[in-house]
């Protein structure tokens, strides 16, 4: 495992407060005035050149949002958010819609280079075998900057573009599916997102098509005081397959920034969607100053028979994470999977988990969640597995393991299991432990240092989940975990 050695090296060389992606790029940007009201929403909608129905949709969401109150059930605490102190629209100022990479602000390209995201198609073409290529949609602050490999994807019939573009070019698809998995009034943050979302990715894979490459979106919050509200919609038609990767970073700032995204996945008969996330928003410094509030609603709908949706997430960033990627197993024989690694250090707070809602017959789901808490962080798994009356032969297996490093952190498990069908078989197990002295002794005896031993044991602990990630992400995820845990050893 060369990655392990790499991880260890990384742990050695990096300081706890050294967030690799903490740089800030000085780019002129086009901002809407601070605050939230109907005019701002009209402004956003006009900026995006949206059809009238979309504006109505947003305004309706906004009016509903005004009647809602912030949820308080999650095990996270933070000062009250002033929703009027946020810029809801910030776009890098460049010519309206870059036609090619040459038109993109070089500063921006440099940013992506720093992030290690290869936007230049030639570079990818030069370096990698065609089947391993990754098409990238990059979202900078609030808007999608560039999408690569469009032509090739179009040849296969796959639509991969920013959601604003999709609204203009494929309004029927957007209208048909948007808000059908996460309804406008689903929850406080989803409703806010519905009102103010500025961009995001749109993927449509037509019937029988296996998407020829991995699709990927990188999100970055750059501007000060901005909130990022993106919306992702992925539709896999009958028999289609798509694998989608998502990565996020933000500069180091000492104020908190809000990220409230909505992701909707729709899998029709025999379709499969694999959605992987490496979330590395700025987590705040070791004293808990700054960092992103990551309040995200992600949900997949296995609408068709034999469909499958798989969520894999590696959560190392954000000051506060509030996120429950879920599957609605509506079609008969459909399958949902959730693999998660949530690492918290410093004063991070994570409240994350999943919902597997079994509605159809012979549906199955699998949940593997690994939580690692260090420093003074709190890490909660919260999940729901439910079987509806008609969900005969539903199956679920859940495993939630927590690893505690240090005595000032907390690890919590809050699973809800609801069975309304006697033929449903649900199994849940959870454990919490620390790295045992025996394991450490065994490693040290073989000449590993403390840090090396911890890195090795932690990598073993999360292996089940890492294996589910596409290769490019797996390596990145392993590095991230080591960086996140740096300073907690000993």
């Amino acid at each position: 495992m060369p990655a392990v050695q790499e991880t260890i090296d990384r742990v050695r060389s990096i300081d706890v407060d050294q967030y690799k992606y903490g740089f800030f790029t000085d780019i002129e940007s086009d901002k809407a005035p601070k605050g939230l009201n109907e005019d701002i929403i009209r402004f956003i909608s006009a900026k995006k050149d949206e059809p009238e129905w979309m504006l109505e949709w947003r305004l309706d969401a906004y009016r509903r949002w005004l009647t809602m109150s912030e949820p308080t059930w999650a095990r996270v605490s933070y000062p009250k958010i002033d929703f009027n102190d946020i810029y809801y629209y910030s776009a890098p100022k460049s010519a309206p819609g870059p036609k090619s990479l040459d038109e993109v602000d070089p500063e921006l390209l440099a940013t992506y280079e720093k992030l290690g995201i290869p936007l230049r198609e030639q570079e990818i073409l030069a370096g990698v075998e065609p089947k391993n290529r990754v098409a990238v949609d990059a979202v900078f602050d609030s808007v999608s900057v560039v999408t690569t490999f469009k032509k090739e994807l179009a040849a296969a019939g796959v639509i991969f573009c920013s959601i604003s573009e999709a609204m203009r070019e494929h309004p029927d698809l957007v209208k048909k599916y948007l808000g059908t998995v996460v309804p406008v009034t689903d929850n406080y943050y989803a409703t806010l997102n519905s009102a103010v979302f500025t961009d995001g990715s749109f993927v449509y894979v037509p019937e029988g098509v296996r998407c020829p490459m991995e699709l990927s979106t990188y999100f970055r919050i750059n501007e000060k005081n901005t909130g990022q509200f993106e919306r992702t919609l992925i539709i896999a038609e009958k028999g289609a397959y798509v694998s989608y990767l998502e990565g996020c970073t933000a500069p180091q700032r000492d104020e908190n920034q809000l990220h409230a995204a909505v992701v909707e996945l729709i899998a029709l008969d025999d379709a499969e969607i694999k959605y992987s996330t490496v979330q590395n928003w700025f987590p705040g410094d070791s004293e808990g100053k700054g960092g992103i509030y990551n309040f995200v609603t992600k949900r997949g709908d296995c609408r068709g028979k034999n469909s499958k949706i798989s969520w894999t997430q590696v959560e190392t960033g954000s000051a506060i994470t509030w996120k429950y990627p879920s599957c609605i197993l509506r079609g008969d024989n459909s399958r949902g999977e959730f693999y998660s690694i949530a690492v918290s250090n410093g004063r991070q707070q994570i409240d994350s988990g999943t919902k597997m809602i079994h509605l159809g017959k012979n549906t199955s789901s699998r949940i593997i969640s690994k939580g690692i808490s260090a420093g003074k962080s709190e890490n909660t798994y919260r999940g729901l597995v439910s079987a509806h009356r008609k969900a005969s032969n539903a199956r679920n297996f859940t495993q939630c393991d927590s690893l505690l490093i240090g005595q000032d952190c907390g690890a919590h498990t809050v699973p809800y299991i609801e069975s309304k069908n006697s033929t449903a078989v649900f199994e849940h197990e959870a454990t919490t432990s620390k790295i045992s002295d025996d394991q450490m002794f065994y490693c040290q005896q073989r000449g590993l240092s403390d840090e090396e031993a911890v890195a090795l044991i932690v990598n073993g602990f999360v292996k089940d989940v890492i294996q589910q990630l596409p290769m490019e992400f797996a390596v990145e995820a392993q590095k991230l975990i080591s960086i996140s845990l740096e300073g907690s050893v000993g």
Binding site: C409, H412, T432
Partner: protein
Amino acid sequence: MTIEPRALETRAETELTEAWYKERDALPGNEAVAGRRKAAFDAFRQTGLPHRRVEEWKYSDLRNRLKSIAPFAARRDEAGAKSVLAGLDNVYGDVDRHRLVIVDGHFHAGLSDMAALAADGALARPLAEALAEAGEALMDLPAIATKDAAVGLNAIFCADGLELVVPAGVTLSKPVEIVHALGQDAASTAGRVVIRAGEGAEAIVLETFLGGTEGTFSNTLTDIRAADGAKLTVARLQAEAAGTTHVGTAVVTLGAKTAVKVIGAGIGSGFARHQAFVAFTGEHARADLLGITMVRKGQHVDQTLVIDHAVPNCDSRELFKTVVDDGAKGIFQGKIIVRPHAQKTDGQMMTQSLLLSEDAEMALKPELEIFADDVQCAHGATSGEIDEDLLFYLRARGIPEKEARTLLVLAFLAEAVEEIGEEVIVEAFEARIRAWLDQAA
């Protein structure tokens, strides 16, 4: 999530408020006790009856269940109490024991084996009497229990009950049975039992909850306090009549080096909530909680546990088995809390449920809340039906289907029964389990 304004006061809530103004002057206890009742009442006025928006009561909406509150039961005369008792099962048959009798929440010394108990070294007296003396010490409970709505209601309305003291160093030669009998007329009761085991004391206590009728609301609380080195086994069998609403709370406080085992069996009542709050206050203690629940015909039964590891080096084991049949609903909620610095905690919780019919329901919520790193904590939860392969195996060997099913349910429960460890309790519980299964056949 939308804003939900506090719902208008329900009829039952109004009746409880009226009951307080009517009863408060007659309720026993010194001034400090009255202060605690008042505080609990003020809290009730704020929150009302617990409902589905209250996380701890999510699956058992008491506000919805209690459409109306029957008047609180007055104390019966001895003949009246005797006739209530005569109409109920004798769960422990001819087992040699000290029997203490509570009818509708009021203790009846005249019907209890007071002399024999005293000769064995233990003391019992009506709680009303104890509350009049230094009652506040008897009212105060560990913090994890005090916020609970049902515990609060018991504090407001508790009119009597029992204080049982097993002094330091005393080992009782016989089990003590505490019968909680309910009369045939619908009434509300809020009996409370305080069991205090002194240092190194040992005892077996058998609590049985029987009787009642449609409209009965019994909200009992058993406060079990084990001083350092004490050993207690408390078996709680709830077999009230089908129409009752039963909330039974057990609060356990463990001193250092104690071992307390609480065994609960729930088969009765139309709507039952059995809750246990376990607080460790001294090191090297161990708590065992066992639960055997069997429900059918639209019954609703809820097992809720909170285990609070506030000090290092303690162990807890929880094993709960639930059998749900015929339109009934089972609930298990168990939370293990490990406080900061409660290192070397070992907490293991297992809950398994068997659904026997298509319309049976089960909800499980095992929780871990951990703030210390050097701990071993785990929970497991399963839900499913009888394994067809096992059934086939038995039937292939000539066992008729009904019998085979009975055997498999028995086998499912056996794991918990085996953990009981006290023959007296095992026999009584097994007889109940078989009777329940025979009813099905």
